[in-house]
């Protein structure tokens, strides 16, 4: 019991010593707390959620049909692109691009219509000078989006023409319907002469409808089919109406019913085409749009998205650095030698440091989370207790990683180098910048060598999705903390023990 109490005294003394040492360095504490907020604040202030519009020069050869539609093209390119001029000289445009006067050169194709009519795509060439693959991807997306917009503009024009025809022919279908009505009436009353006249009138009206509205009706029909409407539409039945009218025999007792059916078909087509004219052309050519949002309902702009990841990476890095450098510092001060001669065990030393630095990193984490949520408006959709538990596991695992680094390091500078390598590894592989889904399974497994990898994912789950972290992630983090703690304690213990000749120990350096 007495011995156990002595261990507790030693652990407590080490913890208090670490806290005192850090708290005696106000610049360090301030930089650890204020630094991340300054960085995030600067990022939030300086980051453009949407990239700045690229200064673009349009190259339109004289034989380009798009030359007449430069306005449409310019409009379709916005807001990603700001057209700063239109030229017919592709070489001059390329020179200006290379000189950095413009960011993009968009070259419209000559004889576009001829190509399209020949069944070929008309290619709009987009030239740029970006080396950054991320920016190259952005330009590719801008280009595709802009060309899609241009295509939609053209298709909308087609739809608009169709609707215009329907509107211009608004008397044709009612006239046909009235002729059909007259035919029905004549057949019901047995007035054969009137029936013949009405049939002739109806045939002429139907011919006119076919000539004026067929293309518009086809657009409408195509839209229906594209939307997956089952069965034949009104135009499909319309195409056989003239034959039906021709086949009506006044002697047939069902002739009046057949004429009434024709009348109904015309009325249905009339209703359908009226519907068609009410659809805005932009909707007709782009019936579906997407509305992406997080299931939790949280709004996550770019700057907000990175905030928890920055916090996790920062806490990991400072915990690793604190732990690794504190052991190396004990060594360079010579205090390790005194500790080794005395009754302190390596477990006392490490547990004391765990406790001290957990307190320090815990306070910093609390300030950071509070500042992010209540100062920067970062959403906190989940449970605070889950977040606290995750941060505690992250801190313990990171400290263990730091002690592991100390066990493998022979000098302060080597420990710093290892810590920086861990940071670099974290930036590339933890999901901080690139999604883990972009990694192959093997590399994804390697990515879990740093605690930030499960940490970022779990903290984002809690803060953004409002869900408890996935059990696997929690298990990985907990196992990681335990395993690295055991390994680092064993390795440091080996270095603490007395060594024979030629073997390294803290005493011999």
């Amino acid at each position: 019991m007495r011995r156990f109490r002595h261990h507790l005294h030693r652990i407590g003394a080490f913890a208090a010593k670490e806290v005192r040492e850090v708290s005696r360095q106000p610049k360090l504490v301030l930089s650890l707390i204020i630094g991340p907020f300054l960085i995030l604040g600067l990022f939030a202030l300086g980051f453009h959620p949407r990239p700045l519009a690229l200064r673009t020069l349009l190259v339109m050869p004289s034989d380009s049909e798009l030359a007449d539609r430069a306005g449409d093209l310019e409009e379709s390119l916005q807001p990603f692109i700001e057209v700063v001029g239109i030229t017919q000289d592709p070489d001059g445009a390329t020179r200006r691009l290379l000189d950095g006067e413009v960011d993009l050169v968009v070259v419209t194709p000559p004889n576009a219509i001829e190509r399209i009519r020949n069944g070929e795509h008309a290619t709009i060439q987009v030239l740029h000078t970006q080396l950054d693959p991320f920016e190259q991807s952005n330009i590719a997306i801008f280009a595709r989006t802009s060309i899609d917009e241009l295509n939609r503009t053209l298709l909308a024009e087609v739809a608009r023409v169709g609707q215009g025809r329907v509107e211009a022919s608004d008397d044709v279908l009612p006239a046909a319907r009235e002729s059909a009505e007259a035919l029905t009436r004549a057949l019901r009353t047995g007035d054969e002469q009137a029936a013949r006249n009405a049939a002739l009138e109806l045939d002429r009206a139907l011919l006119l409808v076919d000539r004026q509205l067929a293309s518009s009706a086809e657009v409408y029909e195509g839209l229906d089919r594209g939307l997956g409407v089952d069965g034949e539409g009104p135009f499909a039945s319309f195409s056989g109406l003239r034959d039906e009218v021709a086949n009506i025999d006044s002697a047939d007792p069902d002739a009046a019913d057949a004429a009434a059916a024709v009348e109904e078909n015309i009325a249905a087509l009339e209703v359908a085409l009226q519907e068609f004219t009410r659809i805005p052309p932009e909707v007709a050519v782009q019936p579906f749009v997407s509305d992406e949002r997080l299931a939790s309902g949280a709004d996550i702009p770019m700057t907000t998205y990175y905030a928890p990841a920055v916090m996790v990476v920062l806490i990991q890095h400072l915990s690793i650095t604190f732990a690794a450098l504190s052991v190396m510092r004990e060594r360079s001060l010579g205090t390790t030698e005194v500790v080794r001669v005395g009754p302190t065990t390596v477990a006392d030393l490490l547990l004391g440091k765990y406790l001290g630095y957990s307190l320090i990193a815990g306070v910093i984490s609390t300030v950071l989370v509070t500042g992010l949520v209540f100062g920067f408006g970062v959403p906190m959709a989940g449970s605070w207790s889950w977040l606290a538990g995750l941060m505690a596991m992250l801190i313990v695992a990171s400290l263990a990683f730091g002690f592991l680094i100390a066990a493998f390091s022979d000098s302060d500078s080597q420990a710093v180098q290892f810590s920086m390598l861990a940071l670099l590894f974290t930036i590339f592989f933890s999901g901080f910048v690139l999604s883990l889904d972009r990694l192959t399974d093997i590399v994804k497994g390697v990515a879990f060598l740093v605690p930030a990898t499960p940490g970022i994912s779990a903290v984002q789950d809690v803060m953004f999705r409002g869900q408890p972290p996935r059990p696997l992630v929690v298990a990985v983090l907990a196992l990681y903390a335990l395993a690295v703690f055991v390994v680092s304690t064993l390795l440091l213990g080996r270095r603490f023990r007395t060594r024979g000749p030629g073997m390294r120990s803290f005493a011999m350096g």
């Binding site: 007495r2 011995r3 109490r5 002595h6 005294h9 030693r10 407590g12 003394a13 010593k17 005192r20 040492e21 005696r24 360095q25 001060l333 010579g334 205090t335 030698e337 005194v338 500790v339 080794r340 001669v341 005395g342 009754p343 302190t344 065990t345 007395t498 060594r499 024979g500 000749p501 120990s505 005493a507 011999m508």
Partner: protein, 325 residues
């Protein structure tokens, strides 16, 4: 390494202990038997093997050969109970610079399981002993070299160890402070603490009960300060001043009559005799002078400078080594 009780009541027992870091560096054939409540001084120039010896005795290094027990145990396998009884002041100041002197000493006390009122009482007492009470609040980073050394000493003594190892505690500090530190070591000895101290200052050797003189990784001489002085000169020194100049022949005749180990004219009228026993030799010298019709103005036993003794012994050791090679 053999375990089990030491052959006698020695706090430290070493026989043929060797630790080599290469063909040249290290320590060879260290023999020691240190009595409880004594001061053992390890003296030697830089690189002689003093720190290696201390590291072997504290268990920081394992010997390549020989037998070594400290407080009855193999130092490389000290149990916690034995470690509680040991104090250690390393060669470099092993203190935390951002903590105050009091905090450093208190931390050392906590490492030995002291807590609460007992810890505060011991810290206060040891700061008083080290004359640091007035500056105890000062951060180590802002303390002078002497304060740091005394703070390290206070940290090594705060848990009242039975055995304390002090590796060059007086290196780089002024003579007044050195003297005060040695006064503290003597007080420790009086309190029953066994002190093992290494130093480059040969003059400090006279304050030790036993000395081990190290040179080039080997024990050049071992014994009390007086024994080493005798060993350096081959006997005890008696300085004689006559009333007039003396001839070589007269001096040699006196030397023969008193069976002097050696003699040396140190002035026209002064002669240094090295004899087996200064007390009996004094009367013999008087008689021989009378026989030679010489009048002695002054005669006294001289305790030779330890520096001289050290230089003679180390010089002899090096000559023997060079002959051996």
């Amino acid at each position: 390494m053999s375990e089990g009780p030491p052959p006698n009541r020695s706090v430290i027992h070493a026989a043929d202990v060797t630790k080599l870091f290469g063909p040249e560096a290290g320590l060879r054939d260290l023999d020691l038997d240190v009595e409880p409540g004594s001061i053992l001084g390890m003296i030697g120039p830089s690189g002689a093997g003093k720190t290696t010896a201390v590291r072997l005795l504290t268990g920081l290094l394992a010997p390549d050969g020989g037998t070594l027990t400290v407080l009855g145990r193999d130092p490389t396998r000290f149990p916690i109970e034995v470690r509680q009884r040991i104090g250690y002041l390393p060669q470099e100041n092993a203190l935390y610079p951002t903590l105050s002197i009091r905090e450093n000493v208190s931390f050392a006390a906590a490492m030995h399981g002291l807590a609460g009122r007992a810890r505060r009482r011991r810290v206060r007492a040891v700061l008083e002993i080290a004359d640091l009470t007035g500056v105890a609040h000062r951060r180590v980073a802002d303390a002078s070299g002497g304060m740091k050394r005394r703070a390290g000493l206070a940290a090594a003594l705060v848990h009242e160890p039975d055995l304390v190892f002090l590796d060059e505690p007086t290196a780089g500090i002024d003579p007044i402070l050195r003297h005060s530190l040695w006064t503290e070591f003597e007080q420790l000895r009086r309190a029953g603490t066994t002190v093992v101290v290494t130093t480059q200052y040969v003059g400090e050797a006279v304050m030790c009960d036993e000395l081990v003189l190290l040179s080039e990784g080997a024990v050049a001489a071992r014994g009390t300060p007086e024994q080493l002085q005798r060993e350096a000169y081959g006997g005890e020194i008696v300085d004689v001043r006559f009333d007039r100049s003396v001839g070589r022949h007269d001096v040699e005749r006196i030397g023969e009559r008193i069976a002097a180990v050696s003699l040396r004219g140190t002035g026209l009228d002064e002669v240094e005799f090295v004899v087996a026993d200064a007390a009996t030799a004094t009367a013999e010298i008087h008689r021989a002078a009378d026989a030679a019709q010489l009048t002695i103005v002054e005669i006294e036993r001289r305790y030779p400078d330890m520096d001289d003794a050290f230089v003679r012994i180390v010089g002899r050791q090096r000559r023997l080594s060079s002959v051996g090679t």
